[in-house]
């Protein structure tokens, strides 16, 4: 019996002694449990630039929707099939989980930072405004893609069924937040410094970004709430970007190269050629930017470079059409998030809507074209000749103001697929082609929005159904609230 007791003691001893390391065992040693806010801010900036820049058919098909490019062999997305690849689900994941959640976490961490003195307090305020501005920019994109989306109840893991908010209500809140930031940013204080990958910690530029963003939001809202739009635009345009200024996300190389380079060059694939829609339009206008937009692989019998676009949505042999220009394929090619070009076209439109923006529509229209020409390194003489040609000159160009501004804004937004597609949806110009076999939810039209993620039907079903019926059906053909024409 003594032996037994002895054994039992050993046994109990072994058990007790071996649980004290348990917490260490279950603790991750290769991943951080704490981090400063700017690292999350930086990550969300990268993710936001990436989603806009790439041309992965699982994610970003807007260069197709805008008919800047078309596909070669596999033409499903050019024909608006975005269900097969669950594009909606992927976009929700990127926008909410990879971008907004990290901005939100950055806010939480910045709020928790202990500051030293007034300078620290001001820097902290600046950081929070910058986070706010990035969120405003991101949410505007989400609304412009889908319509009503989760906003007031989003980004809370304790609430697994966030409600979809009214798109126009979201827009108004975004405007208010952008305005607060524009007013509140203090250029005399610090921000995220070099960890701000968009503007390198230049608070004065962030102020201009805020005002430009206000113009962008307000002009989009103007067809449904002109009075509010007028107030915001007139209060902001003067403090927005100047000629040559922009918010451009600059890429580096390798893992930090522009996703376009990864998709077009590194992949070794030949999936895209220029679409006939934009090429034919530019050929008609004899647009000098063609040499910057596209490569010069095609020549006529006389040996002159010509530009030929593949029929949008039909199969195209890669070697027989114009391709993307080498500049756009460069690993370090920057993604323009917001710039003066864009601002100028919005202000031209504002002038046409009767807002006081310090110049007439023709002036802002010309400024927009000049700014675009400058960005694409077109010689001033060529640029001027173009602006003065009868089909381009504001006085003589055919069509109403929507068509004039719409066509030139569309061309100036080249490569920025979402902006190009949105500009087309807002101004209904230029006329885009209908592909040969458009997906059924498009109802034979150029899509007016993205359909919601299929995953939302199962994971947030009641709110999905309510939103779908409220906006008038979860179709590609359902118009967004600002698309009243």
């Amino acid at each position: 019996m003594k032996k037994l007791t002895f054994l039992l003691i050993i046994l109990t001893g072994l058990i007790v002694s071996c649980t004290k390391n348990f917490e260490d065992y279950n603790t991750a040693t290769k991943h951080a449990q704490e981090a400063p806010g700017q690292y999350l801010f930086a990550n969300a900036q990268v993710a936001l630039a990436n989603v806009n820049s790439n041309t992965n058919v699982n994610i970003n098909n807007w260069k197709l929707f805008a008919q800047y490019w078309t596909e070669t062999t596999y033409v499903d997305e050019a024909n608006y099939d975005i269900v097969n690849r669950n594009v909606g689900t992927i976009l929700f994941r990127i926008y909410y989980r990879d971008i907004l959640a990290d901005f939100n976490e950055a806010r939480r961490l910045v709020n928790a930072e202990v500051t030293i003195g007034a300078a620290g307090e001001k820097a902290k305020a600046n950081k929070l405004f910058m986070i706010d501005l990035m969120e405003v920019y991101t949410y505007q994109q989400l609304v412009d893609i889908f319509g009503d989306v989760p906003y007031s109840e989003a980004l809370n893991i304790e609430n697994l069924s966030p409600v979809y908010d009214d798109a126009q209500t979201i827009y108004k809140d975004l405007l208010a937040r952008a305005k607060a930031a524009a007013d509140g940013l203090d250029a005399s204080a610090d921000g995220f410094g070099a960890d701000d990958l968009l503007m390198g910690g230049d608070i004065a530029m962030w102020k201009k970004f805020a005002n430009t963003l206000i113009v962008k939001l307000a002009i989009t809202l103007s067809p449904v709430d002109a009075a509010l739009a007028k107030t915001y635009i007139e209060g902001a345009y003067n403090n927005a970007f100047a000629f040559g200024e922009s918010a451009t996300f600059n890429y580096l190389s390798g893992a930090n190269s522009n996703p376009l380079y990864q998709d077009l060059v590194q992949s070794g694939r030949h999936d895209f050629v220029a679409a006939n829609t934009i090429v034919d339009l530019m050929n008609g206008l004899n647009d000098p930017r063609r040499a910057s937009f596209f490569d010069g692989n095609m020549t006529d019998d006389a040996g002159n470079v010509i530009y030929i676009g593949g029929v949008y949505g039909a199969s195209s042999t890669f070697s027989q059409y114009s391709h993307v220009a080498p500049r756009v394929e460069d690993p370090s090619y920057g993604y323009v998030m917001l710039d003066y070009t864009e601002l100028a076209f919005y202000l031209a439109e504002a002038a046409e809507r009767g807002f006081n923006v310090g110049g007439d529509a023709a002036t802002w229209y010309e400024n927009g074209i000049k700014s675009s020409m400058s960005y694409w390194n077109v010689l001033e003489a060529e640029s001027d000749a173009y602006i003065n040609s009868p089909d381009v000159a504001y006085a003589t160009a055919p069509g109403d103001w929507e068509k004039k501004i719409g066509i030139q804004a569309y061309l100036a937004f080249y490569v920025r697929g979402l902006e190009g597609w949105t500009s087309y949806r807002r101004l209904d110009a230029p006329v885009l082609n209908i592909p040969p076999t458009p997906a059924e939810p498009a109802d034979g039209m150029v899509p007016k929005r993205h359909t919601y993620p299929i995953a939302e039907q199962t994971l947030n079903g009641a709110n999905y159904s309510a939103a779908a019926s409220k906006i008038g059906g979860d179709r590609l053909s359902t118009k967004l609230f600002w698309d009243v024409k």
């Binding site: 032996k3 054994l7 039992l8 050993i10 046994l11 058990i15 071996c18 649980t19 348990f22 279950n26 603790t27 290769k30 991943h31 951080a32 449990q33 981090a35 690292y39 999350l40 930086a42 990550n43 990268v46 062999t73 269900v83 097969n84 929700f92 994941r93 989980r97 990879d98 959640a101 990290d102 989003a154 980004l155 809370n156 893991i157 697994l160 069924s161 966030p162 070099a194 990958l197 580096l252 390798g254 893992a255 930090n256 990864q262 590194q266 992949s267 070794g268 694939r269 030949h270 199969s315 042999t317 070697s319 027989q320 939810p441 299929i454 995953a455 199962t458 994971l459 947030n460 079903g461």
Partner: protein
């Protein structure tokens, strides 16, 4: 050298020989009634005690007994057990009769405890080592297929590839569902280290599962514990069932008899591709997707270029297209083909006739050959035993430049330090070297090209000679006549000889054990065991390759090098106190208390070059074009402390009651709530004693109920940030995609089981049937949530899976006489699986999203593993055809098209012995289950298969243009219900595959019936052997495996083939063809 080592060990063990016995010694010889020969290995023990020994090679034994010892029991598998009263005799010779049904079989149960099978209240099934080692399979796990009821084995078909073993159905939604492997009491890792890309069907390699390190030659027997009651003492990990492996041991020397033996085994196996598992190509149309190429007036199937520079346009093959919906072959029509553009080609700037490739993809493969040689030395003294074995396996695979080598060294020994204290130890050293494993999945996998994306005009012979001659990647798939870079596919010979992987795993499994018999009632066992390995997987992509996903983050690159280093160590400390007492004449008690302390640690790192290699041919991380991406590092450590107790009561040798309880404390659960307790109880009633009818030799009823708790996956409690690649000088952190949960509780499986065993017809027929129901509740899983929450998933305790089923085993000996014997075993099992619930408000949990737009899911009310995608739309029960003549598809991809679970599995094994000849064959049958074929989804669209060429209803080739009377009318009705009459084109890709069809069109029944194994052996007669003292036995065998797929539904592939083991099944992309193996082996015993 090996001989000397052996002698030393032998002398050491034989020389140290304590004479300790005070009591009387009984000696004797146990012989067989059939041939009068001594039987080695018979268990001889004193009834009611644990005092015992085993007989020597000659059947002799020696045992010390005390006055209170009254009866000896002689027991041997396959023989009738005998009880002999000791009386005054000092010599007890015993003759054992062969027992067809092995009613008194002793089996190894949980924790290595030997029990009489009849006393068990749960189902177990034993497989002898001979059955497993005769047919050499590189992965011993694969050879379980068809051998045990309720054990479902799925082998991938990859060289050295993994095999999935699921017992009684999938019970966990997101965690491991495979059985635990235990070798001589040591739980061993069966980890699958394939990366998540590989598992979800992107390209990668199948590195197999770690249990494949077990050497079939070393296995004495395998016992399968199926239900929770059988495995409860093992704790959480055993909830999916246990495969208990007992290795061969040396035998003790009894009274000067020979106890020393040497066995040499040599086997050569060669294989042939099973043509029914490889595409049958159409041979009438070549490259293209349809008549889309060239501008007018050339519009058609060819591309137009001025190749020779004479100012005139020439016809060229659209080499960029990896499809065969192109121009009809015509030997009188010549054009420029891919081999016209490289100066090294014999056809440089030459037009060649438009014909099908002279050598198709089937000529690409090599003849697999595998050699297995083993030597096994065993022996014993009166106080110790040892066994030393070495096995070398050298396999050359079906793919060119592929090989798998394995060296196993195993030593085990035991030694009686003093009369009542035995120490034993084992060390198993295993080195596995793989080279050139086949890649798997979609894209950058040669088989994905051969089955999905290919041009039937390509001549493999030309591809081979161009690579051999130039060492360059001259591919059939260049972008254009002026850009010879690969569009999608490399020259397959380039891939095999330049882009091969290599891997190596070095492993040690061992234990040290002490058994101390304190007195007749108490004994103690203490054991320390270890399983540790280090593994290196190196992948290469040579400069000059086409672009493809590779390395960390899977970016597209044209060259690269990656390495995955992993080390693993698990230790188990076991201490067990056993108590035995004959309480009254009718009642005995076996009780156990014990503890198990488990600790495991995995340390791994995956690193790769980025953006390509600078110096060609230098496969090293430093040779990276861009700075390396952040390597993926992971260190996980888990500790589980268990204490357990069990009591077994036996009443009058016909009623047995077992009860167990175990408490585990796990490091993966919250600190304050990390212990969980689970019980089991089982009853065995041998009712034939009570019935007392002569026709029933055994009647047994089993009943049991058990619970098993389980802990959480490592690191699922606290959140950490993900760290992405540093951007310039800025660190980049992100919230994780899964929200962890600090409130997780243990999950629970409860099971009830009833069984009946009958042996009748004078022990010529046996039936064993089991019914069970298992419910796994409160599952710890990352449940998908709306990403608007900022996360993709969140760890919760939720959900329930139920498995209920029937297992039937019938075994009989239809014929037995002096020379001839025929044994039959039939296994049949049906498991019905249902996902009862998931988390609140969630009715679908996606397990994987796969190429082709299908998903594998757990869906409430459905079996685990539904295959979901787009379906046909039916009108009045008929497929609906749209006005354009193509099938209408559902708008969403959430339609259940099938599930991965078979309706039932069966195995029929027949064994014949005639004098010195023996033979056996095994038929393995899986009925039902579904499989989605990505191979046919794409491969039909690309017009590769013979089904895309035929004569249509108008009597014309279906691939003629519509104007020429080609095309087809799909069977179905229009939306208004009238029969479809719209003819659609057959000369482009739309109608055949993924283009215009729903996923449902490519979901197949996964049924197969296979002639799994055939063995014919001849042993030299023992009379002949008797003349030569030095040799004991010689056996020659001819062995066939996977010889014939008797029946299947899935065309062009083996329905069993898959990319990997794990929960993601029911999906095929670029799978290997099956191999019919024929081998010859010789076994020599000295």
């Amino acid at each position: 050298m090996r001989k000397i080592t052996f002698l030393l060990v032998f002398l050491l063990l034989a020389g140290v020989n304590f004479a300790f016995a005070q009591s009387r010694t009984i000696t004797g010889k146990v012989t067989s009634a059939q041939d009068g020969m001594g039987i080695p290995g018979v268990t001889v023990f004193v009834k009611g005690t644990t005092v015992g020994t085993t007989t020597s090679i000659d059947g002799e034994y020696e045992l010390d007994v005390r006055p209170e010892h009254l009866t000896l029991i002689f027991r041997y598998v396959g023989m009738t057990t005998q009880e002999i009263t000791i009386g005054d005799q000092n010599t007890l010779n015993v003759v054992l009769e062969s027992d067809v049904m092995q009613m008194d079989e002793v089996v190894v149960t949980a924790l290595g405890i030997s029990r009489e099978k009849k006393s068990l209240g749960y189902a177990t099934q034993e497989i002898s080592g001979g059955e497993l080692s005769t047919v050499k399979r590189a992965n011993v796990v694969s050879s379980l297929s068809g051998r045990a009821a309720g054990v479902q084995v799925r082998s991938t078909g990859n060289m050295g590839g993994s095999a999935n073993v699921v017992i009684r159905g999938n019970s966990s939604l997101t965690q491991n569902n495979q059985a635990l492997f235990v070798v001589d009491g040591v739980p061993i890792s069966n980890a699958n280290t394939n990366n998540s890309g590989q598992l979800t069907g992107r390209n990668g390699y199948d590195y197999g599962n770690a249990a494949s390190d077990i050497n079939p030659e070393d296995i004495e027997s395998m016992n399968i514990l199926k239900g929770a009651a059988a495995t409860a003492l093992y704790g959480s990990r055993a909830a999916n069932g246990v495969v208990l492996i007992t290795t061969k041991k040396g035998k003790k020397q009894i009274g000067g008899a020979k106890a020393f033996g040497v066995t040499i085994n040599s086997n050569i196996t060669t294989g042939f591709m099973d043509k029914s598992t490889f595409p049958k190509y159409q041979n009438q149309y070549g490259a293209g997707y349809g008549p889309f190429y060239g501008d007018p007036p050339y519009a058609g199937f060819e591309l137009i270029y001025d190749v020779d520079g004479d100012g005139n346009l020439d016809y060229t093959v659209p080499t960029t297209e990896d499809a065969s919906v192109g121009q009809k072959f015509d030997p009188n029509f010549s054009l420029y083909q891919y081999d016209s553009y490289d100066p090294a080609s014999p056809n440089y700037l030459k037009k060649t006739p438009w014909t099908a490739g002279a050598n198709g993809p089937e000529t690409f493969f090599d003849t697999p050959i595998s050699l297995t040689n083993s030597v096994d030395v065993s022996g014993g003294s009166e106080t110790g035993t040892f066994r030393l074995s070495y096995t070398n396996m050298d396999e050359k695979g079906l793919m060119p430049n592929s090989s798998l080598k394995r060296n196993n060294f195993l030593f085990n020994g035991s030694y009686d330090v003093v009369d009542n204290l035995t120490v034993s130890a084992s060390a198993n050293y295993i080195v596995t070297d793989g080279k050139g494993r086949n890649s798997t999945g979609y894209s950058d996998n040669i088989l994905s090209s051969f089955r999905q994306w290919y041009q039937t005009n390509v001549d493999m012979g030309m591809q081979e000679s161009l690579y051999d001659k130039t060492g360059r990647n001259i591919t059939w798939n260049p972008v254009s006549p002026t850009d010879l870079a690969p569009a999608y596919w490399d020259n397959p010979y380039w891939v095999r000889y330049e882009n091969y992987e290599t891997d190596r795993r070095e492993r040690i499994i061992g234990y040290l054990q002490a058994d101390w018999k304190i007195d007749d009632h108490f004994s103690v066992m203490g054991r320390a065991s270890i399983d540790t390995y280090s593994e290196l997987q190196e992948e290469r992509k040579a400069v000059g390759s086409g672009s493809g996903e590779f390395g960390v983050g899977r970016p597209d690159v044209t060259s690269g090098y990656s390495r995955f280093d992993r080390s693993f160590m698990e230790t188990n400390m076991d201490l067990m106190l056993r108590y035995y007492n004959q309480l009254t004449e009718d009642l005995n008690l076996n009780a156990i208390v014990g503890t198990n302390i488990r600790h495991s640690k995995t340390d791994q790192i995956f690193a790769s070059t980025d953006g390509g290699l600078i110096v060609p041919g230098l496969f090293a991380l430093a040779n990276s074009v861009n700075p390396m991406r952040n390597p993926e590092e992971r260190v996980t450590e888990i500790g589980v402390n268990g204490i357990f107790a069990s009591a077994s009561l036996g009443f009058q040798n016909f009623l047995f009651l077992d009860a167990t309880v175990r408490r585990d404390q796990s490091s993966t659960l919250p600190k304050d709530d990390n212990a969980y307790i689970y019980p089991s109880v089982s009853v065995s009633w041998l009712f034939h004693n009570n019935l007392n009818v002569s026709w029933l030799q055994l009647g047994k009823l089993r009943l049991n109920y058990a619970q098993v708790g389980n802990d959480a996956p490592w690191g699922s409690l606290k959140d950490t940030y993900a760290q992405n690649n540093t951007f310039g000088g800025t660190a980049v952190f992100s919230l994780p995609s899964t929200k962890n949960n600090e409130q997780l509780r243990s999950e629970n499986t409860s099971s009830i089981e009833a069984g009946l065993e009958l042996i009748t017809l004078n022990k010529r027929l046996g039936i064993d049937v089991a019914f069970y129901k298992n419910n796994t509740t409160d599952q710890i899983m990352p449940v998908a949530v709306s990403t608007a929450t900022g996360y993709s998933s969140k760890y919760v305790n939720a959900g329930e899976i139920q498995n209920q089923g029937v297992e039937l085993m019938v075994f009989g000996t239809p014929v037995i006489n002096k020379d001839f014997r025929w044994d039959v075993t039939l296994n049949w099992a049906k498991n019905v699986n249902e996902v009862v619930s998931l988390a609140d408000g969630i009715d679908n949990l996606q397990i994987a999203a796969l190429q082709g737009g299908v998903t594998i899911n757990a869906r409430v009310g459905e079996p685990y593993g539904t295959i979901q995608g787009t379906d046909f739309v039916y009108t009045n029960g008929q497929k609906t055809v749209k006005s354009n003549g193509y099938y209408m598809k559902t708008g969403t991809s959430d339609k259940v098209l099938g599930d991965i679970n078979p309706d039932w599995n069966a195995g029929l094994n027949n064994r014949f012995t005639y004098k010195n000849w023996s033979g056996s064959f095994l038929i393995d049958w899986q009925q039902g289950g579904s499989i989605f074929s990505v191979d046919l989804w794409y491969g039909m669209a690309t017009g590769l298969y013979e089904e895309t060429v035929y004569t249509n209803d108008l009597g014309n080739p279906v691939r003629n243009s519509l104007d020429e009377g080609g095309g087809l009318i799909l069977e179905g009705v229009t939306e208004d219900g009238s029969p479809n009459t719209k003819r659609v084109a057959g000369d482009d890709y739309a109608v055949w595959g993924y283009g215009q069809n729903p996923n449902a069109a490519f979901v197949y029944d996964a049924t197969y019936i296979k002639l799994r194994e055939v063995v014919i052996s001849y042993s030299l007669p023992s009379k002949l052997m008797a003349r030569y003292n030095w040799i004991q036995g010689v056996t020659f065998s001819v062995i066939g495996s996977n010889l014939w797929i008797i029946s299947k539904d899935l065309p062009h592939a083996d329905p069993e083939a898959s990319q990997s083991s794990g929960n993601i099944q029911g999906w095929q992309s670029g799978v290997m063809p099956s191999v019919r193996n024929v081998g010859f082996s010789i076994n020599l015993q000295f």
